[in-house]
């Protein structure tokens, strides 16, 4: 495209793929049959969706501090969602929520 540098194009591509994972996560959350499988869908959005989004934004920012914050946010979301999903699954187990049988 006229006027767009390689950087912008790459950044846009990364952001779009990140968005795809977000939508995939959302659709999975809606369509999958039980609590435990929905948790799997959720983590796709967290890890890959946000990660690709962050990397896309990294390419288009000038400020180093903002770049550090972006990566920090992604790492934080990764780690805390790891613990959160485990806690949710544990509670679902305790309450004996049904497991879907095919």
């Amino acid at each position: 495209m006229p006027g767009k540098t390689m950087n912008e194009f790459l950044s846009a591509a990364l952001i779009v793929s990140g968005l795809a994972f977000f939508i995939a996560g959302g659709v999975g959350l809606l369509r999958l049959p039980d609590v435990y499988s929905r948790l799997h869908a959720l983590t796709k959005a967290d890890n890959l969706g946000l990660g690709l989004l962050v990397f896309g934004l990294l390419l288009s920012t000038d400020d180093a501090f903002v770049a550090v914050k972006l990566v920090l946010i992604w790492v934080l979301v990764l780690a805390s969602s790891a613990a959160s999903t485990y806690l949710i699954a544990q509670r679902a187990r305790r309450r004996e929520r049904g497991v879907w049988k095919p």
Binding site: A79, S80, A83, L87, R94, R95, E96
Partner: protein
């Protein structure tokens, strides 16, 4: 085409906000209502950002995402029926018809007043605004973030009184008696999470406090974030949520108001007015006040989550006569028949 996109985005945000707000209020199952309310808080933070108000968005994110959800879920612990492993959840008691009618009338009246005010605001061609005044005087206020300038310099009296109100509130909470029984010592997942998350929260809270002078941030946001760290500690099994006991706790309660007053009175003693900062010192004084206020606000919010005095032992607590229902917050499951 672009304005259409903005309209679409705004419509989505507003619809989601209204849906979550309505859902959380209309929910029979209280737990469901609280979870919807947490979502509402998240969405509200997004709306604040859309309205170009990042300071408020920061505070809303800290309070709505972390604190209110935890507070309300913790309050639901005592609901009969939630303590069993069965699917019975806390449910709301139905309100009498007269109360519903009165509330409907009041809400309708409020909606009419707000609607009229909105229409009047649209008509004004030259909105009187204090914003020019603020920006004109921002240079001598000691900070470059206009929100902090207004809160800590131009309207410092108001902030002092707000902190005093918080102190009064925490005195009220402490007088409820001992804090509730805590939570179980956490399993490896939660301990691991707390182990690294609390230090990161501390650092980010300090960052928000520091950056408040020139960018959105400041004492309240930092204090709310710090309180969330205390809440997390408490949820992970720490008995007092990171707060010290006795004298140190009392000190934390009053440090915000105390530092504010000391600075104000000292300025009076040297001949200036109450809280009239000399221009060269304004920045440092504001930072000192904000640091104290952060600690005070965090301590207040953590005590609110603890719902009582962490220093008192429940066994020594004087209970009321049996038969008189005690305050919800106290550990009265053994004393009061349900």
């Amino acid at each position: 085409m672009e304005t259409l996109a903005w309209i679409l985005l705004d419509t989505m945000l507003v619809t989601a906000l209204l849906a979550l707000g309505w859902g959380s209020l209309a929910s029979k199952d209280l737990r469901r209502g609280v979870v919807l309310f947490i979502g509402f808080g998240l969405l509200l933070a997004l709306v604040w950002v859309r309205l170009r108000a990042p300071d408020i968005a920061l505070a809303e994110a800290a309070i709505g995402a972390g604190l209110t959800g935890a507070l309300m879920l913790s309050a639901l612990r005592d609901e009969p029926g939630t303590s069993s492993e069965a699917a019975g959840d806390a449910s709301v008691r139905s309100t009498p018809v007269s109360a519903s009618l009165l509330l409907t009338l009041l809400s309708a009246g409020l909606a009419i007043v707000l609607g009229a005010a909105f229409i009047c605001a649209l008509d004004r061609t030259d909105p009187a605004s204090l914003a020019e005044e603020v920006f004109a005087n921002l240079g001598v206020s000691g900070v470059s973030n206009p929100v902090t300038g207004v809160l800590l310099n131009f309207r410092a009296y108001d902030t002092l009184l707000e902190l005093a109100v918080l102190t009064a509130a925490v005195l009220g909470i402490l007088s409820l008696g001992p804090a509730r029984s805590g939570y179980q010592a956490s399993g490896p997942m939660l301990s691991g999470l707390t182990g690294w998350l609390v230090p990161v929260i501390l650092v980010v809270s300090g960052y928000l406090l520091w950056v408040g002078a020139k960018a959105p941030g400041g004492a309240f946001q930092a204090g709310a974030l710090l309180a969330a760290a205390g809440v997390l500690l408490r949820l992970a099994g720490h008995p007092s949520g990171g707060l010290p006991r006795e004298l140190a706790l009392r000190g934390l309660m009053v440090v915000g108001v105390a530092v504010f007053l000391i600075i104000g009175l000292t300025l009076m003693l040297v001949g200036r007015g109450f809280l009239d900062y000399p221009v060269a010192w304004a920045g440092s004084l504001i930072l000192a006040i904000e640091s104290a206020a952060t600690l005070g606000i965090a301590a207040t919010l953590i005590v609110a989550f603890l719902c009582g005095d962490p220093g008192q032992r429940p066994e020594n607590h004087e209970t009321a006569d049996s038969g008189v229902p005690l305050a919800k917050c106290e550990n009265n499951r053994r004393n009061t028949p349900r």
